[in-house]
Symmetry: C2
Subunit: 138 residues, 2 copies
Amino acid sequence: MSQENLKSILKSHELRITDCRLDVMAYFLQEKNALSQGDLENKFTKYDRVTLYRTLNSFLDSGILHKIPNEAGSATYGLCHHTCSPDHHDHNHIHFKCNRCGQIECLDDKVVPKVTVPNGYQIDGVNMIVDGVCAKCA
Amino acid sequence: MSQENLKSILKSHELRITDCRLDVMAYFLQEKNALSQGDLENKFTKYDRVTLYRTLNSFLDSGILHKIPNEAGSATYGLCHHTCSPDHHDHNHIHFKCNRCGQIECLDDKVVPKVTVPNGYQIDGVNMIVDGVCAKCA
DNA sequence: TACTTAATGCAATTAAGTTGCATAAACTAT
DNA sequence: ATAGTTTATGCAACTTAATTGCATTAAGTA
């Protein structure tokens, strides 16, 4: 994706255009998998870890990224492939975690099946995490 | 649940009977919701952090507890209501996280719907996390 | 270009997760 | 019941993630 396209994405989310944000967004677009703060720190040693932390947060707030629940201690983030607003994230897809290579990817074409909850419960969002072995590791 | 019952649970999982394990298990049985290491530290100041940490791990290994994926940094744990072995955990139920009170509970009677993944992917487990508002907070 | 506002880098703090080791407690077999 | 073996506990220490304050720098704007 061109630098101009990256900039227009940031602009459309009312984020200032900075080197760090452009680099981080390009990295997410290039990598198909979910990334953690640690991944970014390894990739971009020229940026402070706090800057990367705040970059992730600004992307979260503006709906560019979403957090992916996992069992490990550290958070992982994935691109929002559909339009999300800060208030409402619509991530109706399945996350797959490979138990061999450890990578988490969004299966965008796999829709989360309908689910029911007990009476009196209100559903805001649904997350589905499938773990197993991905095609590359099989 | 009686102290004797608690002990028999530990015995059936080949765990030595200690005060800490009895207290932690009783706490999980009493609380319906998922608990974090921090919850245990607040509840049981008489036990060392590390002891609680290792208690959780021994319960995980022996199939008494399961880890619940979440978006926050810290791990949360829930009771295995069905029989689980160390090798194979079968948690075919839905986890509900309330966005008001923050508590996570296992909806044991709600079964995770079937899911499909792309060709070449192998499924080991499926986790479903629904967030919204629970009956108490609605 | 000057001004306003937001982003960055650095220092520092909190908390979670983890390991090693000496001591204490739980189990086992007399 | 007791001695011996194995495991659990508490303490110290370390690593990493998450988080905040503040001074400086850079981005957007008139």
